[in-house]
Symmetry: C2
Subunit: 243 residues, 2 copies
DNA sequence: GGGGCAATCAAACGTCCGTTTGAAACGGAC
DNA sequence: GTCCGTTTCAAACGGACGTTTGATTGCCCC
């Protein structure tokens, strides 16, 4: 391979370790050791640790985002413009990528990395997400709003946001939430089955009739059921001077 | 106040800073400075930084978990055992807590902290989540399986997992996904309205008829839509030796 | 008023961090 | 062969990290 082998190895290790251990928890020394690359190579190729993170996200998100846009393009000039199909066009590229990662034995990489990134300082994460996912997301909301004219656009955007939450849940296999039958855990289904289930779930939520009104009102019951005073005994305290 | 003022101040600052900046990115020096407390106090009260994280999660999760269990208890000996009510019992305590936090101006604390924690090393996060959320989650799945006898228990567990994803999405206000009308962003609705919307979404998903079969099959279309070879042109490459 | 214990404090411990440096290795152009 | 731009390398930089220490404070019981 010509020159770029080192660069790619750094990106591979960064993607894996940032996702697995966290960004702040992953030192460049451990990273370069993992990639079998000289420490200074990171700064030579990416300028800084933050530049490396940016490159990692770019390499991960760009193909997904362009695939999404391409699929939405195809839908724009097609007869199938119902909400489930649009949602599918948005979900499919990332599910496909996830399956590819799972085949490599790196199941949770995608979700964890996104979770890591989402929990960066505010401005930075806004920049990153907007740059790498903004296009497709806005286009998808637009298409959905057109396909669901009975819903207010704000509601469509909110539900789209929730659908993304379902997608994140599909990525993550948070332990402890598995099915149980008595004491013995029920084995999980494979990824395609779970992905189908996620799509069904998100589709139903997206096309739901309206915000539930038959449920107990939210606002009056909004206090925690514990008999807590205005600031709970454990943690709800109003902070005094937390500059 | 008797003795425990320092302890609480540390917990308050830790909750805020861990969520805002990240766990690895928050130094104990910055934390104790923020709490106006001596550096060594952390180790005196919590033993280590990890012990502090554990205490933070405990203080945050315990009231939520017990409120959930109490609500599920009440449902067990009641006539209202339909799925939406059960889901509501599970969602309400954490939504209430979120509203309390928002009233303190700390909107995203809960979501970010959970996202941070979820992206810790594997065994640790499993331990944490199981300890602090396991009870109520298992009980909720059980109640839902009883309320939805037409669904396989595995499916119920999966959908419950997705519902949790919706809840996480409600917590997080990920930027860039807001509603737009042309160029001007549509202002967000307030939290109770969004919470109702989330419940409606999750309820519809939970009670959906079955995993969609009318959608394009997942498995054959599982490759990215780009005409990419086995490793895509930009990032989908199968890594050679990323050990 | 003095012993005893929990809590706080300033200071230091050794380690690891992200980053920089300057020299060495490489490869094609002339 | 020699130059030159690109890439790799070992070594070091100052600083910040989590943790430990040992002295000091405040307070209750006797």
């Amino acid at each position: 391979m010509p020159p770029p082998e080192t660069r790619e190895r750094i990106l591979d290790s960064a993607e894996e370790l940032f996702a697995e251990r966290g960004i702040g928890e992953t030192s460049l020394r451990a990273l370069t050791r993992h990639a079998r690359v000289n420490l200074a190579a990171v700064h030579y190729h990416f300028g800084s640790k933050e530049g490396l993170l940016d490159a990692v996200v770019e390499r991960l998100a760009t193909p997904i985002n362009t695939a999404r846009c391409r699929a939405l393009d195809r839908l724009d000039q097609s007869a199938h413009t119902d909400a489930p199909t649009i949602l599918w066009a948005f979900f499919q590229p990332v599910i496909a990528r996830m399956e590819a990662l799972e085949r490599l034995g790196r199941t949770a990489t995608l979700a964890r990395l996104l979770a890591r990134i989402e929990s960066q300082p505010r401005a930075e994460v806004a920049r990153l997400f907007e740059r790498h996912f903004g296009d497709a997301s806005r286009r998808c909301v637009e298409a959905l709003a057109h396909a669901l004219p009975e819903l207010d656009r704000t509601v469509v955007a909110e539900r789209f946001h929730f659908a993304n939450g379902v997608l994140m849940a599909l990525f993550s296999d948070r332990p402890g939430f598995e099915a149980h039958r008595g004491d013995t855990p029920v084995p999980r289904r494979d990824l395609p089955a779970r992905a189908r289930e996620a799509i069904a779930f998100a589709t139903a939520g997206l096309c739901a009739r309206s915000a539930c009104s038959s449920l107990p009102m939210l606002v009056p019951a909004t206090r925690p059921p514990s008999s807590a005073p205005d600031h709970g005994p454990d943690g709800t305290r109003i902070e005094v001077d937390s500059r």
